[in-house]
């Protein structure tokens, strides 16, 4: 067989099961695009910005759990891709970015659109490659797939100079596909020790992170929790591992948790951390997090154990494997005083979502949309108040239903991630809850959704403000609101029309419920503008750097407003 480097890349991607690739062409990746044009099984989705392409790939990978690939050209194409890849690193998402690079004889000459892509991608990838010859691609491409999904998943970057894409290679057979390494041996002693701690615990709490989603362990996690009758908290990334309506679910923990959730953690005597990494948004001030608890920590990444908080027992393992070994050693427990205590805490420290019954309110829109959605649904968000409200209020049912930028918190994630999810799940409805600030960061992808006629419904929670910034300034900077409010409001309904997308406005309609129903019912993309009062905050909120028990429950009247009231 005789193929060019570019053809080898495309064929190897086909062989690894890749069927849809988002990207943008340019001078340095044109040979790859030419080869892609000849592929009979890979479709290309033309994004409008490389960050959009990267988040489309993330959407694909997050709903399927399988690696997704995206393409960009050298120089500005590569730099535009960076945020989406860095985001995948922090949330452990297996995406593979393949960029063109200037020909090798021009590298180091400040050639047109030359940038040190390899160097730039080192700190934001799990691993990265620079292909020096077309032959090397036989190792690099399968290895990229292997690394992306082995152990803790993560993003990969492959930089391919143009001469490598064009070089012809003669060869006899294709290399084997990259598959996940499976070289974990369980330390049975720690499993035994963990079981002892868990069995002796009087007030255990299970703390579930994104690892439960990545390792497809939600069923076994749920079985373990039920066996123990243990109340369970989830991180932002872990939502969906246990259905929100599960009687043992205490929802999300940390900065925007329900008050009873953080209070319960204060009282637990054993914390069973499953695929969670003690992120500061979850723990609050670490020294005061679960002060009385012995910690059992299971994670596939050894460097996560004892990184933030020392565990009594640390187990490095795939979560599903670890639970399989652990379960038989765990004693079944009936509901007891601890479960009663949890019910009592729920009564004493309830979660309050104002105006939930009003479908045009900040929380109400989420609740009503959830109530109206039928069948398979996926939910994406952007970053800000609307994101935290969805995390608090949406009744998640199953793993991979929830797509949000957790670790990096990247505004601009929501729309392209929804496109990626819809590409993989064409029968489903994908809802993107976004903010008026965030949507502007990748608004160009509206036309991509229209072009692909995807079933993506975009709810713009529009407070004409960088709401979460506004909230922090209002609460913690003595109400000095600066650079948070927009002085001109964007007409998103018109903007959507310009992108040839159906659009609706909850602000001017008489019957909000039927408007939402109409927007959801018609197949294809739609944008719905939802005016929100900028003074409606997300509560509870733990002040940044504070302990979780110090959460603010409502707007506190600051000294300054007190003075204003007196005057």
């Amino acid at each position: 067989m005789k193929y060019t480097g570019a053809e080898i890349i495309i064929k190897l991607l086909e062989r690894h099961g890749i069927r849809q690739i988002a990207g943008i062409p340019g001078g340095a990746n044109l040979p790859m695009y030419d080869a892609l044009s000849q592929s009979e099984c890979i479709r290309h989705i033309l994004a409008r910005h490389e960050q959009g392409a990267g988040f489309i790939a993330q959407g694909q990978a997050r709903v399927t759990g399988r690696p997704a690939v995206f393409f960009a050209t050298s120089g500005p194409g590569a730099t535009n891709a960076i945020s989406a890849v860095a985001d995948a690193k922090l949330d452990s998402i297996p995406i593979i970015c393949i960029t063109g690079q200037v020909p090798q004889d021009m590298i180091g000459t400040d050639a047109f659109q030359e940038i040190d892509t390899y160097g730039l991608s080192v700190p934001i990838t799990k691993h990265n490659y620079f292909a020096r010859s077309a032959k090397e691609l036989f190792e690099i491409i399968p290895d990229a797939f292997r690394v992306a999904i082995s152990g803790r998943p993560g993003p990969i970057w492959i930089d391919v100079p143009k001469d490598v894409q064009m070089a012809l290679v003669e060869f006899d057979e294709w290399p084997k596909n990259g598959v996940a390494d499976n070289n974990f041996s369980l330390d049975m002693q720690s499993i035994q020790d963990a079981a002892t701690i868990i069995n002796e615990a009087k007030r255990p709490i299970v703390y579930v992170g994104g690892g439960a989603i990545h390792s497809e362990a939600s069923e076994s996690v749920q079985a373990l929790i039920e066996k123990l009758n243990a109340p369970t908290v989830m991180t932002l990334m872990g939502l969906g591992a246990l259905p929100s309506r599960h009687p043992l679910s205490l929802g999300m923990l940390g900065m925007h948790a329900a008050p009873f959730t953080n209070h319960a953690l204060e009282e637990c005597d054993a914390l069973i951390a499953l695929g969670a990494r003690f992120d500061d948004r979850a723990t609050g001030k670490v020294a005061q997090f679960c002060p009385d608890a012995k910690i059992v920590h299971v994670d596939i990444d050894a460097s996560e154990l004892n990184k933030i908080k020392n565990a009594k027992i640390g187990i490095v393992a795939d979560l599903d494997d670890a639970i399989e070994a652990l379960s038989p050693l765990i004693d079944s427990k009936e509901a007891d005083e601890w479960n009663d205590r949890i019910e009592q805490l729920k009564g004493e420290y309830p979660m309050y979502m104002p105006d939930l019954v009003d479908p045009t309110s900040a929380y109400g829109i989420i609740d009503h949309v959830a109530g109206m959605l039928e069948g398979e649904t996926y939910i994406t968000t952007d970053v800000g108040q609307h994101q935290m409200r969805v995390a608090q209020a949406y009744p998640f049912e199953y793993p991979r239903q929830w797509l949000t930028s957790g670790g990096l918190g990247t505004m601009g994630f929501g729309l392209p991630a929804a496109i990626g999810a819809a590409l993989e799940k064409p029968e489903a409805t994908v809802v993107c809850f976004t903010g008026d600030g965030s949507i502007l960061m990748n608004i160009q992808e509206l036309i991509t959704a229209v072009e692909e006629n995807l079933n993506v419904k975009i709810f713009v929670c529009n407070n004409n403000s960088l709401g979460l910034v506004h909230q922090q300034q209002d609460l913690f900077y003595e109400k000095r609101i600066f650079a948070a409010n927009y002085s001109r409001a964007v007409d998103f309904v018109k903007i959507a029309e310009g992108f040839q997308m159906d659009s609706f406005d909850l602000g001017t309609c008489v019957d909000p419920m039927s408007l939402i129903a109409n927007a959801l019912a018609k197949p294809g993309p739609a944008l719905i503008n939802v005016p929100i009062n900028v003074y409606h905050k997300v509560f509870p909120m733990v002040p940044p750097g504070g302990a979780n028990k110090e959460m603010l429950l409502r707007d506190r009247v600051t000294a300054r407003t007190m003075n204003q009231i007196k005057q």
């Binding site: 080192v122 700190p123 799990k126 691993h127 050894a302 460097s303």
Partner: protein, 93 residues
């Protein structure tokens, strides 16, 4: 004064390895005051010696090193390891 620790890394022999290792220390603001690297007898491998300060974060650094795809093995030696002592001769002013 903090004492030194010597780290001995066996790594894959290709151009990006030094960058991956040094960048890991640099971005975590962890000072490396000595670096030595040469291929081993086996052409596919190199040996990389690092002299770093003993620090509470060292355990975490070693775990991070072990996660690098191109790092095959990490060994930890005490400050008295001969490798930097002997080569020190070439570094005196």
């Amino acid at each position: 004064m903090k004492t030194n620790t010597i780290l001995e890394l066996t790594v894959k022999n290709h151009s990006g390895v030094m960058m991956h290792v040094c960048s890991l220390f640099a971005r975590r603001v962890f000072n490396v005051d000595g670096v030595l690297c040469l291929p081993t007898g086996d052409v596919t491998k190199s040996r990389l010696w690092l002299r770093v300060k003993e620090d509470l974060r060292l355990e975490q650094m070693i775990l991070q090193l072990q996660k690098l795809e191109d790092v095959l093995a990490v060994r930890r030696h005490g400050a008295s390891h001969a490798v930097f002592e002997r080569i020190g001769e070439y570094f005196r002013e």
